[in-house]
């Protein structure tokens, strides 16, 4: 039996290192993108004390490459996270499926007994139509997983923990 998880609490910033929000800091080739969004709670209030982590493949869809798509970022006073990274490529899925480019997002915070996991997909990717995970999500809720390019190279996905427009979270 795996060890029980416990909330990260309000003081997790003891392990916040702002440079971790840039996954390219050890060197990376390719165009940088920003991944950003605001996290809100069940009343629509910004979640200002969350720890957000991302994990994704490199632009060729590889997880074992030199580029390492891992980042950590705090939400600010407006509930916003912002990462600098590279846009991932398509990744093999189970069977012979091909997954659309995506970013795994983990959210830790006070009030979250354990982290929430979700995925960020990119609007306009043809593979979104056949992505095996998106296919498991009721169509009406799929938009909660699909980031839009709100400025050149800036992909925005707001996250709602609870209530109207609640983000699809994953049981991983």
């Amino acid at each position: 039996m795996a060890t029980a998880q416990q909330t990260a609490g309000p003081y997790w910033h003891m392990i916040d290192f702002p440079e971790w929000a840039d996954t390219t800091r050890f060197g990376a080739e390719g165009a940088r993108i920003a991944l950003t969004g605001i996290i809100r709670d069940g009343e629509g209030a910004p979640v200002t004390d969350a720890m957000v982590e991302i994990w994704h493949a490199d632009p060729e869809g590889r997880y074992d490459a030199a580029f390492q798509g891992f980042g950590r970022c705090r939400t600010d006073a407006e509930g916003r996270f912002r990462f600098t990274t590279l846009k991932p490529g398509p990744v093999p899925g189970r069977g012979n499926a091909l997954q659309a480019p995506h970013v795994l997002i983990a959210i830790f915070a006070r009030g979250l007994m354990r982290h929430l996991l979700t995925r960020l997909y990119f609007a306009g990717e043809p593979l979104n139509e056949t992505d095996p995970l998106l296919a498991l999500v009721p169509p009406a809720r799929r938009p909660t997983l699909i980031a839009r390019e709100t400025a050149p190279g800036v992909w925005t996905l707001d996250i709602r923990l609870q209530g109207e427009g609640e983000t699809v979270f994953l049981d991983v």
Binding site: G111, L136, G163, V168
Partner: protein, 237 residues
């Protein structure tokens, strides 16, 4: 390309629910829609390579610039294993905690207890080839947290762990044996299974205790292991 081995699903009762009514902050932060069960792909079965060259270890919280922090010096050590009993080698373990007075070195902590200039309260260590980790610190103090009248957190150290797959990623808290606050704590008691709760409590360990120097505590951590059968994922899909 063959499919990656999925991780086992969590045993019933082993993990706290998102909706834990006695812990007020969960009220507006827990999802109300059902989670979507995600098959384990490379995204879930791979993990960042967090290595000491890029993430320098710091295994001694008990002093800053050669000056000793106040409080009871302790050594905490243990093994990180998976559910199959295999060591998790070279895993990055981050820990953070309050000082001996129950105060975090954090701008958000307004508890009326003294800061200690010689205590920061965070460390980063890596497990060895056998899954062992070890760090030195001082025993933290309990602190109030306003969840309910006269609410005090039991003494604890926060842990953050990475395994071989992101599905193993987890954050937890280590508690101390005999703490009278444990039966009163909504966070500790949100774990349904009593045995699972009690495994969050470290054990005093005389073998880890260093004469004339520091008390030793043992705290082992188990990360998710491989699914029992390769078909488990499909069975539950």
């Amino acid at each position: 390309m063959s499919d990656p081995t999925p991780y086992a699903r969590h045993a019933p009762g082993s993990q706290p629910p998102y909706d834990a009514p006695a812990y007020g902050s969960t009220h507006r932060r827990h999802p109300k829609q059902p989670l979507i069960r995600a098959p384990h792909t490379l995204t879930e079965t791979t993990s960042p390579r967090l290595t000491p060259d890029r993430f320098p270890p710091e295994a001694d919280m008990s002093r800053v610039n050669g000056k000793d922090a106040l409080g009871q010096r302790i050594i905490v050590a243990g093994r990180v294993l998976d559910e199959a009993g295999r060591p998790v080698p070279h895993a990055m373990v981050e820990v953070w905690q309050a000082n001996a007075a129950g105060r975090y070195h954090h701008p958000g902590d307004t508890h009326d207890a003294p800061l200690d200039p010689n205590f920061l309260g965070r460390a980063r260590v890596f497990t060895d080839a056998e899954g062992w980790y070890r760090y030195t610190t001082i025993q933290p103090g309990a602190y109030p947290w306003r969840n309910h009248h006269n609410a005090w957190r039991p003494v604890h150290i926060h842990y953050s762990l990475f395994g071989a797959g992101f599905a193993q990623r987890m954050i937890t808290q280590m508690y101390f044996p005999g703490d009278p606050l444990l039966p009163l704590d909504p966070i500790f008691n949100a774990v349904p299974d009593e045995a699972a709760r009690n495994r969050l409590i470290a054990a005093f360990d005389l073998d880890l205790t260093v004469p004339e120097w520091a008390l030793g505590y043992r705290f082992d951590i188990v990360l998710r292991g491989p699914a029992a059968t390769p078909f488990e994922e499909e069975d539950h899909a």
